[in-house]
């Protein structure tokens, strides 16, 4: 389900085209790691050359299997890793030339956490704010406000080791937001959380944009997460971006809806396939009494298809339409299922 249609508030597309402002802009961004295998020097290409552009106010998902280059790209965009080649401008500054300016303007929530288990949650947040150069009073006020918004009330004095996984992750998000950045990077934000905590965190992430107008760039290897949260998805595989669009458009342009017909009389399968093709489908697959094929948009085709089947006397036992999933998209663009890799 797409979040935008989900909550009924279509994000203002018109405004987006007028004040199109790229907050992340990467060109041919690449990173090669040199290692050693025995005596030989080996080069591992983690990111082969990424071009991407993220506008202000977007929630963009970086989707790919483990090892596809998601985290490496993210670490380059957050100045933790220098690109081997290519350029990236984040929040108006070049990541290689002005890393300090970039750091000042972005928030980063890593997979591995950000607090000492023995420390007190509130103190960690305030200290983190101080490192961004905001005053103690500001950091404290902002921290308490974030605790309230992220359902961490009453946990200011709590040690992270005494918190649940979901609470700790929300504390990490509070750490990443204490200096009020306009752009937030989240690396695999819900990995390792139980379903309830995940759904809860999704709401908080959506609020970052919906209520606070922040730009969110997140990596994930969960299809449902990308589908539920993101305005736009960048699919990365083997260090390259292989697809980029809204979840709906990706599904539409890459595969289309699957129409599955179950016939009463298997001998009429050929006629049914012919009618399907006439309605603009892909080459139908026939398996006994069942015939299936993909069409760009089932909604506009279905009524005509039923009439035409009826006119040639093909009787249907059942008809089923399946919307494509992101897994179908992934399978189409990479030739592999994401689920196998995850």
């Amino acid at each position: 389900m797409n979040r935008r249609t989900d909550n009924g508030t279509l994000w203002p597309v018109a405004a987006r085209w007028e004040d199109l402002v790229a907050i992340i802009e990467a060109r041919a961004l690449a990173r090669t790691f040199t290692g050693r295998k025995g005596r030989e020097k080996t080069e591992v290409v983690a990111v082969a050359g990424v071009d991407l552009s993220v506008d202000e106010g977007e929630i963009v998902g970086f989707l790919g299997p483990n090892g596809a280059g998601k985290t490496t790209t993210l670490r380059m965009l957050t100045t933790l890793l220098r690109p081997t080649s290519g350029t990236a401008t984040v929040a108006g500054f070049d990541v290689a030339r002005d890393p300090v300016e970039v750091r000042q303007r972005i928030g980063y929530v890593s997979q591995s956490g950000s607090t000492s288990p023995e420390a007190r949650a509130g103190e960690e947040v305030v200290d983190h704010g101080l490192l961004y150069g905001i005053s103690k009073a500001q950091a404290e006020a902002r921290g308490r406000e974030l605790f309230e918004q992220l359902d961490l009330d009453g946990l200011w004095e709590r040690q992270p080791k005494a918190m649940s996984g979901g609470q700790r992750r929300r504390l990490d998000i509070a750490m990443g937001l204490v200096h009020d950045p306009s752009l937030v990077f989240l690396d695999e934000p819900t990995t390792g959380l139980d379903p309830q905590a995940r759904a809860n965190l999704w709401e908080h992430i959506a609020d970052l944009r919906d209520k606070r107008g922040r730009t969110v760039f997140l990596t994930t290897h969960y299809l449902d997460e990308a589908d539920a949260l993101c305005d736009r998805i960048l699919v990365i595989d083997q260090g390259m971006i292989v697809a980029s669009n809204t979840p709906d458009a990706l599904k539409r342009e890459v595969s289309g809806d699957l129409i599955m017909l179950e016939l009463v009389d298997p001998s009429r399968a050929g006629d049914a396939a012919e009618r399907l093709k006439a309605a603009g489908s892909t080459e139908p697959e026939i398996d006994g009494a069942s015939v299936q094929a993909r069409v760009p948009g089932a909604g506009s085709v279905l009524a005509g298809l039923l009439r035409s089947l009826d006119s040639v006397g093909v009787e249907l036992a059942s008809i089923d339409v399946r919307r494509p999933t992101l897994d179908d998209v992934f399978l189409t663009v990479t030739g592999r299922s994401l689920r196998e890799g995850a």
């Binding site: 199109l20 402002v21 790229a22 907050i23 802009e25 552009s53 202000e56 670490r75 957050t78 100045t79 933790l80 890793l81 220098r82 929040a91 108006g92 500054f93 300090v100 300016e101 750091r103 000042q104 303007r105 972005i106 980063y108 890593s110 997979q111 591995s112 956490g113 950000s114 607090t115 000492s116 288990p117 023995e118 420390a119 103190e123 960690e124 200290d127 983190h128 101080l130 490192l131 961004y132 150069g133 905001i134 005053s135 500001q138 902002r142 990490d172 750490m175 200096h179 009020d180 950045p181 306009s182």
Partner: protein
């Protein structure tokens, strides 16, 4: 599609002040100090070790004082203990950094605009404060055992030890961020620290007078910490103008500069 973000796009609502080295160092130090004070087990263990040496090993040295060329066994022995404290205590400082790295704290700090040197120096300051307190406790206790030294000598000796602590704590932090594993670091530190301990003449002097064979004396001449121990000994004996003091101070400053440089590099490095 290349557009430059407007000012509003990059300015956060809070408005900000660029953080500075000393400010960042203080923030890191205060955080580390708070964590250390809340878990004083390590401070106590660190303190207990030299006290045990003083109580259980010191008395054995008293009758030997003449043989090793010292008028006062404790004026000879306590400087060695102090240097040992500076080396060993500080060398183990890196272990806490490994667990911090594992819980993501190091990365979270590296993504802030804070000075990379501050990330190291703030931590090292915590170790230095701890070392200073331990050193003072040890000296005060030693006076009860019979140590005699001038205030100036004590001050210089303590200063050298604290500086050595900076060097060792920096090296330990650099090692921690490079190995990222207690299992690698523990044997590594032991294999460095044990020869250093034995060859610096920390417990017993290595010299022809103390009956050491020539090859051992030559070998120990290559150990910078030997000069540092001797410098602290001379300082305690109020001999401020000896070659020992000069070399000891130079070595300490050199090692400190090298270790802080190496430590900062590891915090700056990408895969930390």
């Amino acid at each position: 599609m290349t557009t430059t973000p407007t000012a509003s796009a990059v300015t956060t609502a809070t408005g900000k002040r660029r953080s500075s080295f000393w400010h960042d160092t203080f923030v890191i130090f205060r955080r580390q100090f708070r964590l250390a004070v809340r878990n004083p087990a390590w401070v106590i263990i660190g303190l207990l070790q030299p006290v045990l040496y003083l109580v259980l090993f010191g008395p054995l040295l008293e009758p030997l004082a003449g043989a090793i060329g010292a008028e006062n066994a404790y004026t000879f022995f306590v400087p060695g203990l102090l240097v040992q404290l500076g080396i060993f205590g500080a060398f183990f400082a890196g272990f806490s950094l490994i667990s911090e790295w594992r819980s993501g704290v190091v990365e979270a700090e590296r993504v802030t605009p804070a000075s990379r040197t501050a990330l190291l120096v703030g931590r090292v300051l915590r170790d230095v404060v701890q070392l200073f307190v331990q050193g003072v406790v040890l000296i005060v206790l030693s006076f009860a055992f019979g140590l005699r030294a001038s205030p100036g000598g004590l001050l210089l000796g303590l200063l050298i030890v604290v500086l050595l602590g900076v060097a060792c704590a920096s090296a330990s932090n650099a090692l921690a961020l490079t190995t990222k594993s207690e299992d690698v670091m523990a044997p590594l530190i032991n294999s460095i620290a044990l020869p250093v301990l034995l060859l610096s003449g920390i417990l017993l002097p290595i010299s022809a007078r103390s009956g050491a064979p020539d090859w051992l004396v030559t070998l120990s001449d290559f150990m910078p910490t030997k000069y540092i121990v001797n410098a602290v000994r001379d300082a305690f004996a109020s001999d401020f103008t000896t070659a020992n003091v000069l070399w000891g101070v130079l070595w300490t400053i050199g090692l400190t500069a090298l270790a802080v440089w190496a430590g900062t590099r590891t915090f700056r490095r990408e895969n930390s």
